[in-house]
Amino acid sequence: MNELIPIMVIVPLMAALLISAFSKFNKATKIFAFVVAICLPIIPLASNYGLHYFGGYAPILDNVTNVMYHPAITYSFTFLQQIFIAIVGLLTFLVVFVYLTKYKKVSGPYLFLLFLGTAAVTAMILTDDIFHMFVFFEILALAQVGIVAASSIDYSYEMALKYMILGSIGSPIMLLGIGFLLALTGSVNVTDIATAVHNGLVDITSPVFLMSLALIFFGWLYASGLPPFHTIKSGVYSKAEPHGAALLQSFTVISMISIVLIMFRIFSTLPIFEVLIVFFSILAMILGVSLALTQTDFRRMIGFLAVGELGFIGLGIGLGTTFSLTAGLFQALNEILITALLFIGFGAIVEATNEVDTRKLGGLLAYHPKVSIMLLIGGMAMAGVPPLNGFQSKLMLVQASLNCGYPELSILAIMVSIATFVVFVKTFYTMFLKPKPKDLELENKEVPRSMIFTMGVLLIIIILLGIFPDVVTTGISNFVGGIL
């Protein structure tokens, strides 16, 4: 059933276009969006692993050099793609569900952007073509800008515009790097480029090859929200609707791992590649968590924490061993789930209180006990408290850096986890445990049930992955073994 592989991209893409075109039929749009959203996590689970060649152009074997060339845009579908596409599909379903239950009259363009973003990240993680990846990276960037601009939060337009302006630096720079690679190898297929590099057909010390790494790496920093783009990324999260922010962060994580895995396959022969990744990951962890500690806007705080957590993913990938890469990718999966839970949970508090400043909140445990408890567990998962999934991936990362001979990185990872825990203790106390301020109006304001349902689903997965991490790590480890 390899025909299902392109369907994973086509379904959300077509749904986006149809919803946008027929959005004036409100009820039909709602039903259609709901049905498509349900299908999104099911399709990857029903599909078999394999390759899909667009246009049916199968690889060609060069009998002289005995090298295989890939003329078609190729989609590769393995366990890694399956798990990430299924999770982002599930998250899209939950986000669409929250959105549809929140508004009586839905916005066609907003749903269009949600589905377009999902289609773009799905294509990015499936593709084996670096230019194809770039095209969807651009589509994703526009969808992200749209999701932020379409939210009804103050200054969201301004933040979206800033993100777009910074993108106008990051994206062309990445395209230039891809152009350099094309000039060197004559191909945009990642397998072909990697084969050329590893077989010595490309001089890896040539300035053009090194510059292509530098330029693509800079584009990756923009896509991932690692420093110097951590401020805008956290700002974008804080100015989106809570359910939109939950989806946006999953887009960021998947685009981060999609691009870095492509870079890893091409540039891993250069030791400086891993040095660069580790350097920026450390910077992201330090800046993300230290700035989160000083925030009074809890949406911004989660935004900075999400950026800090990206550093853990980068750390795992930068260490470059099978175990560390598995840990990094497992951490990516965990971060998608945990951060989505936190964004939706804190979003529920905004719904109930219309307040984002922690100093003006208090005593919410008595009014919203379910949300409070689920947020507490989510925060503990992010800080790496056992037996939750964050603990499993962070423990793996600590072990990986010890195995690689970098105890400093292990200590740093533990320190960042402790600081993350401090952020949650502080925020939880301020919002839920301290006495309620007199001027805070809470009566007759309920948290939407759809949000509680969404948090419950995410929490169950978080706990299950914490107790049974092997369900995911074994498959990821097999995938990593294949690319190393």
Partner: protein
């Protein structure tokens, strides 16, 4: 005594960090945690230079520790540099691009 005064002054300076609005105990303790965290983590990261040269690592770590501690409070400075100003974001993006390109072009095959 001078260092004690300096640390005491840090707490007073955190007031500006949270203005306008009240400054709570939780905010100040969070900021002190961030202050200590940023110093310790940067010094710890500098120790990684031992993989290049042990003497260099020792020197950089010592200098970094002295510079960071003598410049406390760091967090207001960090926060000021990382606000939502587009000019600062663009500045740091371009500086980073320049550093990466220079580092790769002249030092890419040395590591």
């Amino acid at each position: 005594m001078k260092l004690y005064d300096q640390i005491f002054d840090v707490v007073k300076q955190f007031k500006k960090l949270f203005s306008p609005g009240p400054v709570t105990n939780a905010d100040v303790s969070g900021s002190i945690t961030a202050e200590i965290f940023i110093i310790v983590s940067l010094v710890l990261s500098a120790i990684l230079l031992r993989h290049v040269n042990v003497l260099l690592a020792a020197l950089v770590t010592l200098i970094l520790a002295v510079v960071l501690i003598s410049n406390i409070p760091l967090i207001p400075k960090f926060k000021k540099e990382q606000d939502d100003s587009l000019e600062k974001m663009l500045f740091y993006a371009i500086v980073t691009l320049a550093i990466i390109v220079v580092f790769m072009y002249w030092g890419g095959n040395l590591v």
